[in-house]
Each structure stands twice: as C-alpha cells, then as structure tokens.
Symmetry: C2
Subunit: 222 residues, 2 copies
C-alpha cells in the first residue's frame, strides 16, 4: 500500500481517517479564484498538477484532454477582448434588477494570473476507439472536465488558486489557440497565487449573488 | 486552519506534504469499477460522499446536479435493457478487428452494484441566474461532472467503488426516472464494494483495449 491503509478491514482499501478529514477540507476550501497575485507559479507545481489531471477518468480511456498554455501577449489580449464582448452580451441579457450587482462582480483573473491555459476536448480522437461514447459523445467533454477538476484540487492542495472562465466566445478561443476544428473548447483557466489565501465560501455567495441549496432538495429516490 | 497547514509559508494555504502524497495516491487508485460485491454500502458513506459532491464548483453557483437513487426493481431492469440495446448498437458500429475484444469486456455493474444512481443536470434551473452560462450553456452539465468526480474520489477514499455507465439511451433514462423535460441525463452510476479492493491500472488498459498516452503529447504552448 505505502500510505497506511488497511487499518480496520483487510479486504477494504479505504484511506486513513485523518486523510479523509483533510480531503473533505480540500473539497470545502477549493474556490473559483478571480483575484490573483502576479507572482509566478513554479513549473514543478503546474507539472505535478497536470500529471495528476492526466490520471482522471476518461470514457473508453480516450484521454481527450488537450492543454494549451497561452503565453503570447497578443493571444492573451485577444482572449480578454472575447471575455469583454461575451460579458457585455451577458450583462445585457441579465434581468434589470440583477444588472447592478452583476456589473460589480469580478468574474475573471485573465489579466493578473500568471498562468493562462485553454483546455480543449479532442472529439476526433481515435484513442479509446469510441468505446462508451457512441450513444453519448458528450462524455468525451465530460472526461476533460474530470481532468480539469483534478487539476483544480491538486493546485488548491498546493495553495495555488484556479479560476474557470466560461464567459467567452468558444469559436474565438479556438481561433486564438489555432486549435484543430475537431477540438471543442471546454474551459479557460486562470492559475496563480490567490490574493486571499483561504476563503471558506464561494465568492458569488459572499457577494450576495446566490446561496447554497439544501442538498436534500436535489436528491430523489424511486 | 484545523488541518495543520501553514508549515512553511505564512501566506500560503498549502496542505501538508503527507496529505499531498496520499491525495496523489487517491487520484492514481481511483478506478471505473464494473465488478462489485453485492454487500450493501452504508447510508452514511453515500451521504458523506454526496455532501462533498454538493461542494463541487458550479457555473454561477447554479448547483444544477440532481441525484436520483433508483431502487425500484422494474426501473433498474429497464435501465439494463437500455444498456443492452445501446451496447448492441455500439458493438455493431465497432471496427471488425476490435469486435471480439469489445464483446469480452465487462462494461457495467448495473446488476451487481447495490446502489444505482442516475445523475441529471437541471438546464432550466434559476439558481445562479445563468451567470457564466450564457455563451457556454454546456458549463451547467460540466458542473454536474465536477460533482460526479468529487463523489467518485470521496467514495474511493472510503474503499467504495464507482462505475460510470454511458452506454445508454439518454431519453430512455429520462423516461425511466420520470425526470422533467429540462433535465439533461449526465451519468448512470453503479456504486458498491469492488470485487478487487485495489487496482493500479484502468481495467481497459489491463484488458489491452487502450494504453495511457504520454502527457507531453497533450500539452502545448503558444
């Protein structure tokens, strides 16, 4: 084993109780970060997190995640302009009574975060030979999301913040990243040290935009 | 803090090194399980995992995950029939040279696993007031995937296995679960104690279906 399991039941590969408690803390303290310090993130931390992300589940073991680190200043600026257009459209579509609060929210750290990464799903991959993805091809993109979520937890565990920007024009991000036509844009990730080291609640909750729902309302039995 | 952070840098909310190592083990040992023992999973374990899943990131804090525990025998049998139809179609569409191996693979534990759960995305939810989901509405389903992936890790940490079945007819699962028309079917989850407590590699890798790709081929810089 190597990590001290098998405490209680010999045929039960559970992790130790103290790990379980800390893992719950990690899940609870993971935030969608929009306020970053400009300090660089060591390459080793990013590499370690990407290596863990690469162990995420994927439909038919298709591993369809494609990571594009965007370092070029002009490309970054073009992505910010895409956000600005998409955000102006989103604000215009928002209900009148919500507009003032919406306009005050900080929704991305695309200028401040030292690492900017676009993540795509290769919908044309031959890896996995389409196993599991014929009746539900969207599961390829879902696999990419599992990798992104793994990256998020791995970075947070190192104290590094990540924010997922979705207020963008997918076709424009494909163009900016010179991605093949078969690549589906999934996420733009801002990665860096958070201004606020630890935040117990989502920023949208603290800003009064939305509250956490009671889980019991979201679970059903039949 | 409560979990022993702040070891080295006072403004860095990193988790302890031993936790980081064990977290990497958890990610590495999480499997898509298809072979289950029939023993029941304690309610407390499932509840704990669902509570963690409910802390997953969601676009605009929309929390669009909807969990349906399917206990009814007739509904479970109908879902198995949906798998059988979708799998027959998938086998027929598989390349001739792959058909024999495909037919030998065990692709789900829908009959054996004690817990069977359908997960949906409420695409019509008003929670979060569509923030972040106007230009990319698919991010709601991606949020549900983050919750599913959290559930997966939380269960695996307790030694409980989970398998994600995607070889199904989405419209039929919506019908079986009497889900509202606005709910998008995301995943059918089989949950239970795995026959094999610990497996280092994905079953599809061990069966010779697919190998892990080198991560460097999936990362790009520009």
């Amino acid at each position: 084993m190597g990590v001290g399991m098998h405490d209680s039941a010999p045929d039960n590969d559970a992790f130790p109780e103290d790990f379980l408690r800390t893992f719950a803390e990690l899940v609870r303290l993971r935030r969608d970060v929009r306020r970053f310090r400009p300090d660089p993130v060591p390459d080793e931390i990013l590499e370690e997190a990407l290596n863990l992300a690469h162990l995420a589940p994927s439909v038919g073991f298709s591993q369809p995640w494609r990571f594009v680190l965007v370092e070029d200043t002009a490309r970054r600026a073009a992505a910010v302009r895409s956000f600005e257009r998409a955000n102006a459209a989103a604000l215009a579509a928002t209900a009148e009574e919500d507009k003032a609060l919406y306009a005050r929210l900080k929704l991305q750290g695309m200028r401040e975060a030292p690492v900017q990464m676009a993540v795509f799903c290769d919908d044309a991959t031959r890896t996995g030979r389409k196993l599991g993805a014929r009746s539900m091809p969207e599961t390829r993109a879902y696999s990419v999301v599992c990798a992104i979520h793994t990256l998020w937890l791995a970075l947070r565990a190192r104290g590094v913040g990540m924010g997922w920007v979705s207020i963008l024009e997918p076709a424009e991000i494909v163009r900016i990243c010179e991605a093949p036509a078969e690549w589906r844009f999934v996420a733009w990730l801002c990665i860096g040290w958070p201004e606020e080291a630890r935040a117990d609640e989502p920023e949208l909750q603290r800003a009064g935009w939305e509250q956490r729902l009671p889980l019991t309302k979201l679970c059903h039995r039949l």
